[in-house]
Symmetry: C2
Subunit: 236 residues, 2 copies
DNA sequence: TCCTATCTTTAGGCTAATCTAAATTTGGAT
DNA sequence: ATCCAAATTTAGATTAGCCTAAAGATAGGA
């Protein structure tokens, strides 16, 4: 039997520095909106010409890391998201370590981590994480994905469902950053950072009636369990 | 004035991983003999085809890192030697650090350092060296070039000139690894590791009469000041 | 001296990642 | 409903590193 082109579900064949950078950029650019990322936006972020990004996206689509709809943007596949999260974990662990263990000044750690994130082995990643005590956040307060690539639950965050009637909070994120959910919410003007207030709910597990930035929505089911909220923030 | 192709004596324009590997390989291969390195020998060391090495050597010659005499081998220029020593310093500092600070097992540090040596910044290099207390040797006992890229003087080593008449010692190296000197010596069968015995000397700063592996040589001038010897070693 | 085995270089090609310039598509404004 | 500006893709080229196959140089032995 000829070896499958697809390499079914094996090791994600070490991505190059460029590939990892594209995955990371697509991840962060689509994180807020949940919507696909435009080619020019991505190219600008990476400091390359738009045509370069197009070419790379075709390649990434070919190896199954992204879903590229020509003229309509790109989004990560689950495999692509794993690449992105792995790099982000490396980056934030390195920033933490360089700052904490080596006393590297704040304004330098990012630049250094930006390079090294692509080259440390999984074993070194683990040693660094262990030395730091499996930190959940980096020195900038950004959450560090765990070894399983899941983000830590935010301290003090609860599912939207857990709010009392009349209680106010800030919508922070969807717990496993499901992009379909994020897109659905974004279409209704509900974005991370939005102020929410539970006006009431239907009994027997029915929907919550939630006021978001002045507009009322009925949200229920899986959605209100995955949406995380925390105490209302001050303007930042 | 058009910008010079040569970039007179500025920063040695960050070498790629491949370039650094070639420089390091040429350095270590020519270190013992002092003679130019053959293309195949180099290619084998780097795990590339000989034709690949030829092409790279032409490029390295062009940018002034090596002196490549077609069909007669290659040697490092002073600029190339700086590249090699910088990488070796990175490598040995990393090995030391990974082992001492992160408890990485011995058999893994080499592999990890082999990659990272090309990517740490000068600033991180300095932080690591400082954290380790500016070590002069790595965990394998190999000497670490200092920030000035000079190797530390070996403890207990002296210039050949300092030996008493009749004293026996082991020739270890030429103090700044001048390849012309090494070649000159190699042509006479005098190599690092050789047992030497001073049989006598001419007065008034004249040459020393030295027996090396049975043959007698008259060595003087700069040579006997640069040649370092240490207490005779046991067979290894 | 000459011949051949070995080493080295040349020739021609490939992939990854980038560029510029020229199509092409899309979607909003008239 | 059409058109145009902006976004995107295609086309064609470049550079770094690598490969294989073929041609050329060197040097040691007969």
């Amino acid at each position: 039997m000829p070896p499958s082109t697809h390499a079914r579900h094996e090791k994600p064949a070490a991505a190059s520095e460029a590939i990892e950078d594209y995955a990371k950029a697509i991840y962060t650019l689509s994180r807020r909106s949940g919507a696909p990322v435009g080619t020019s936006e991505l190219a600008a972020r990476l400091g390359v010409a738009p045509a370069t990004a197009t070419a790379m996206l075709k390649r990434l689509d070919g190896i199954g890391l992204v879903d590229h709809q020509p003229y309509h943007g790109v989004s990560l596949t689950p495999a692509g998201e794993r690449v992105a999260l792995e790099v982000i974990r490396h980056h934030r662990l390195l920033e933490s370590y360089l700052s904490a263990a080596l006393g590297m000044p704040w304004d330098r750690v990012h630049e250094e981590a930006e390079v090294l994130e692509h080259y440390i082995s999984e074993e070194l990643e683990e040693l660094i994480a262990a030395k730091l005590g499996e930190p959940s956040h980096d020195p900038h307060g950004d959450p560090i994905p765990g070894p399983d690539l899941e983000f830590p639950e935010e301290a003090g965050s609860r599912p939207l469902e857990a709010l009392e009637d009349g209680e106010t909070a800030t919508f922070t994120r969807v717990s496993d950053s499901d992009s379909q959910m994020l897109r659905y919410l974004a279409e209704r003007g509900i974005r991370p950072g939005a102020h929410v207030m539970v006006k009431g709910r239907q009994p027997f597990g029915g929907p919550l009636f939630v006021e978001v930035d002045g507009a009322e929505h009925a949200l229920g089911g899986e959605l209100v369990r995955r949406m995380r909220v925390s105490a209302a923030e001050q303007a930042r």
